[in-house]
Amino acid sequence: MGRKLLIDKVNVPGIETYDVYRKEGGYRSVEKALKTMTPDEVVEEVKKSGLRGRGGAGFPTGMKWSFLAKPEGIPRYLVCNADESEPGTFKDRYLMEKIPHFLVEGMITSSYALGANTSYIYIRGEYMWVLHILEKAIAEAYANGFLGKNILGTGYNLDLHVTCGAGAYICGEETALLESLEGKRGNPRMKPPFPAVKGLWQSPTVVNNVETIAAVVPIVNDGGEEYAKIGIGKSTGTKLISACGNINKPGVYEIELGIPVEEFLYSDEYCGGIKNGKKLKACVPGGSSVPIIPHFLVCKTAKGEDRLMSYESLSDGGFATGSMLGSGGFIVYDEDQCVVRNTWNFARFYRHESCGQCSPCREGTGWMEKVLYKIETGHGQMEDIDLLWDIQRRIEGNTICPLGDAAAWPVAAAIRHFREEFEWHIKNPQLAQTKNYGLVAEKVFEMAQ
């Protein structure tokens, strides 16, 4: 059994209330930080912990915090990104719904570390009932002196508010989120300037994922070094993984980073293996944006080593034979699933969610969707595969925000690993309407860059 730092208490009856949460040791990190540590000491612990952003990019949190500009007389803000929208990802919702005070506590401790006196949680509009859960928790925290003026008599003031989106994946991108939080369309901003210098209302701002902020609680309670003892290499601590697809036990699991993928996928403690005794065909280990990997690269790397649930191991081999930990949205496909159809489905998603600012993404996502639909419905031609490769190549790296990359990668990876399935679709347009291709052979196609 791995250690659980975030969700070990989710099943305690009444844990969503302040009283029970407090009795279970809640808000200790606020007491410790505000009464015995300077803000810089809190930042130092986070640096020591090796915590990396849990929203998908994996950037070291302590370093992000240390970039925050601190000009005299200008307010600084902490914004929590609760816009969880990456297909396959539903971990933040679980944490906020089950144990909302954990996020509130993390927000207070983190705001103190950053010198913010007003902080916001931006949650996706579809999670409206979770917004109400959070507002209730925040009201309880105010009532018990953990928010508001002169918190715990330390002279530190903090106001915390929740606001919401209204259906836009793009608002999970931090600058789009800030635009949306300012009451505008979610169009990402050019960087630089980075939010750490000019963020919310042009003031220095840190934007962190829900799970990242929650992880600050155990880091402050037990110390950064203790936290860093969990995990492997530069993948320290625990990670929430939301598992779905053709597995026996879909759901949210907290793992110690570094456990073997095989254990995560097949043990009864986690996914419990492939549903209905089927064979594994492929896996998207970190949300829809990360490359899909075929069955023979899921539990082993191309070098034949055990693949681990860590930032490094999941990306071992680069995009040629690896993928990414991403947001922890772990999607599993069995032998009956069609990669062409799934790739089309994701392409439709990115076309729908493109904000339309940058031509390569606006035009390219729609074009890829159309070509993939053509292949999927039996009207494809062989040159369409190269066309798809060409389009994705021209989107990647050529847009203001990473949505372009996120749209390109799934298409590139599908062609890289499943080219013969695409060809089979094109050669057998009738058959492909009623039958799925099945497993692919163990080879990786060389693709021109």
Partner: protein
């Protein structure tokens, strides 16, 4: 019921909430509350945002109407045309697709007798396929108002439709 049948004015409770939300931001930054306030307006004024409603929101918030229009037309949860009293937002992205979202959509289309984006003749139901709602482990699912209905089957959807019909 459309917004033109009634006077466009927030209820006292909603007006109080609107004021509170605008107060959560620094002086002059109350535009930040726009997204939440549009949700409140949509709910009170018949499930969609007519241009009259958007103008009213602009007036209450002291914004230019265009600032409200551009937001209302960007986000998928706002409707700028009338919808049914109940809207089924059926997730059809990847993980839900694996678990039969398409079959579910087909079933709903047949059961309600209207195509995606249309409303039943009695004004009760609309449905549409939407992108990932963050319930991938509990698929297939749909959103109805503020709630998620998860692990759905055609039978469960039929039951839901009956329940809603009987609620009137």
């Amino acid at each position: 019921m459309t917004s033109t049948d009634q006077k466009i004015e927030f209820s006292p409770e909603n007006m109080q909430l609107v004021k509170r939300l605008m107060g959560e931001y620094p002086e002059g930054k109350h535009k930040s509350a726009l997204l939440r306030i549009l949700h409140i307006a949509q709910r009170q004024f018949g499930g969609w945002l007519s241009s009259d409603v958007m103008d009213y929101v602009a007036e209450v918030m002291n914004l230019k109407p265009i600032e409200v229009y551009e937001v209302a037309t960007f986000y998928s949860m706002y409707f700028t045309k009338p919808t049914g009293k109940y809207v089924f937002d059926v997730c059809h992205t990847g993980p839900c697709a694996i678990e039969g979202a398409e079959k579910l959509c087909n079933h709903i289309e047949k059961r309600l007798g209207v195509k995606e984006g249309e409303t039943t003749a009695d004004g009760m139901f609309s449905w549409r396929g939407v992108e990932c709602l963050g319930a991938c482990g509990y698929a297939p699912m749909l959103q109805l108002g503020d709630s998620f209905r998860e692990f759905l089957t055609p039978e469960k959807v039929d039951q839901l439709i009956e329940e809603l019909k009987n609620k009137v």
